[in-house]
């Protein structure tokens, strides 16, 4: 990825130079693994799991399918899980995109306009800490379809962290950027788009990272309630059938999907924030 970008876009060369020569480290970091300790811990975890599921005998053992059984089930269930992922993402991606877009736009406006800040802050202070899972039953009752209800709660879960971080980013922007914009005589729109937005991006990305985790929580929880398909639905369905190998496989699969999504976001962030020292 880095190699391609440095050829295609010389502007990104600086960002790539800094990471060059660290290929192994980069790959390890990619999986969240740093050095052999992480791998050893995962192996240890597998051993403990294997031991619990096969080594000892107790009444609830059927709740602990062995690693081998689980990964076989995971392999068999992949097509079904993949379809579920597609259905989940059809709700997740548009809702999250809308929440990120509105969170950034509204956040930039509120963060740079004292009057808007005074108007919106009291409401934001009250509404933003409400755990968005609380809205799920009401959203399902209120909105015509499950998709719109799930989309709504995902939106709420993503909007607040993105919005709040954007406001912080815009409000804590170094004075020198504002001075420079004033010296150049930039108009409000240009100032927001070419100065405040890029300067706030580090904060905005922290907001999106938090929002992404929230989005998965909101969606899977919502799917437990009333979906006909999707990742959360998959787990709920096989829990109802007491098919624990499939359920655990679904949990592991969901973990991997969240990890991959986070990594994708991290890569986008690296590209957009190449200019940071």
């Amino acid at each position: 990825m880095a190699a391609i970008s440095s050829v295609a876009n010389p502007a990104l060369q600086a960002g790539c130079l800094r990471t060059r020569g660290g290929g192994a480290v980069r790959r390890a970091r990619w999986w969240g693994l740093r050095g052999k300790e992480g791998i050893l811990f995962l192996l240890g975890l597998l051993l403990v799991w294997q031991f619990i599921s096969t080594g000892i005998s107790f009444a609830g053992r059927y709740l602990f399918p062995s690693p081998v059984v689980t990964f076989k089930t995971l392999w068999i269930s992949l097509p079904e899980l993949f379809t579920g992922t597609l259905h989940s993402f059809q709700i997740l991606v548009p809702s999250m995109a809308l929440a990120v877009l509105l969170g950034i736009v509204w956040g930039l406006l509120v963060g740079t306009t004292p009057a808007l800040n005074r108007m919106f802050s009291p409401f934001a202070r009250f509404a933003s800490p409400v755990p968005p899972t609380i809205y799920i039953p009401y959203a399902i009752a209120l909105l015509p379809t499950f998709r719109t209800a799930a989309g709504f709660v995902v939106f709420v879960g993503v909007f607040w962290p993105v919005f709040l971080n954007t406001v912080t980013g815009a409000a804590s922007m170094p004075q020198r950027y504002r001075d420079n914009a004033r010296i150049l005589g930039l108009g409000k729109l240009e100032y927001l788009w070419r100065v405040v937005l890029p300067a706030s991006l580090p904060h905005i990305f922290s907001g999106i990272s938090v929002g992404l985790v929230f989005a998965f929580i909101m969606l899977t929880v919502a799917e437990l309630f009333g979906a006909s398909s999707g990742l959360g639905r998959f787990i709920q369905l096989y829990a109802d059938y007491a098919d624990y190998p499939r359920m655990v496989a679904g949990i592991i699969y969901t973990g991997v999907i969240v990890l991959l999504s986070m990594e994708l976001l991290e890569q986008i962030k690296k590209r957009l924030l190449f200019w940071q020292k």
Binding site: R176, N180, L186, R194, W275, Q276
Partner: protein
């Protein structure tokens, strides 16, 4: 006033930069006190003083980035009420936006100074300005990949692109090594004379002030006020090798140092008197 052929000595009232009875306080603490200063159009003035003397604040007031508590500032008779493209500013560092390439930084400035021209035209002109400051090869680079000296060259190019008749420079070379500093001083003298601009240059470096300025305005601290103004009589173009270290240069430098020493001693005496008065109570 020996040998200053480039000067515009007689100034019509209302032309150039004018500061009258200026006062500026920051949350009750006086920063600048009763500043009166006239800078002729085309003059190169250095504001010289120790840290905390308010020289940067004075420059920000001239730029229109701060508003005075009382007094008046004007450029060619028009009061200064806010920033304007007529007065370009180069800050000590970070004048450029780090997320844009050098060219993009300059085309953004050109968009304001030449709104009627095409993007292609602005691009070409940006590259010309970069070439003028010796950065043609780095046009597509981002500031964080450049040295401090190159970044300041870029900042100067951007200010030139604004086409401002007034250049305000806030210790622009304070963070540079001596060699780059000297090179950039000569660059500033170059761009100042062609076409001729009015330059206000803030520095705490006595030699830099003498080398660059037509006139050095010395500010004392706590609160900031003008303690002396000194005309620099050297002819232009100035030759660094011949000038720096010449008896005349050293004489001026010592005169300036001595004046600052006196001011410091006066301030200490004044504080002692006040403290002495306090002890009696």
């Amino acid at each position: 006033m020996t040998g200053t052929p480039n000067h515009l000595p007689a100034v019509a009232a209302g032309s150039g930069l004018n500061v009258e009875a200026l006062r500026f306080a920051y949350s009750g603490t006086p920063i600048l006190l009763d500043i009166d200063l006239s800078i002729a159009e085309g003059e190169f003035v250095c504001l010289l003083g120790p840290s905390g003397c308010g020289k940067t604040t004075l420059l920000r007031l001239l730029a229109g980035l701060e508003a005075a508590n009382s007094g008046a500032l004007s450029w060619n008779g028009a009061p200064i009420t806010g920033p304007s493209l007529e007065r370009g500013v180069v800050f000590q560092d970070y004048s450029l936006f780090p997320w844009m390439t050098l060219t993009q930084n300059i085309t953004l400035a050109l968009k304001k100074s030449h709104p009627e021209m095409s993007a292609r035209w602005r691009q070409n002109l940006a590259e010309e300005y970069l070439e003028m400051v010796g950065l043609a090869a780095s046009a597509r680079q981002h500031p964080s990949t450049l040295s401090g000296g190159m970044q300041q060259r870029g900042a100067i190019a951007r200010t030139l692109a604004l086409g401002s008749p007034v250049l305000l420079m806030d210790e622009p070379f304070g963070a540079l090594d001596p060699i780059n500093r000297a090179k950039l001083q000569d660059l500033v003298l170059d761009v100042w004379s062609n076409p001729r601009k009015t330059v206000v240059f803030v520095t705490h470096d006595v030699e830099e002030a003498i080398y660059l300025a037509d006139r050095v305005v010395m500010l004392g601290s706590a609160p900031g006020r003008i303690i002396q103004e000194l005309r620099i009589p050297f002819t232009r173009p100035r030759v660094r090798r011949a000038l720096v270290g010449s008896p005349e240069f050293i004489f001026l430098r010592e005169q300036i140092d001595e004046r600052f020493r006196q001011d410091i001693l006066q301030r200490i005496d004044a504080d002692t008197v006040m403290a002495g008065g306090g002890e009696g109570i």
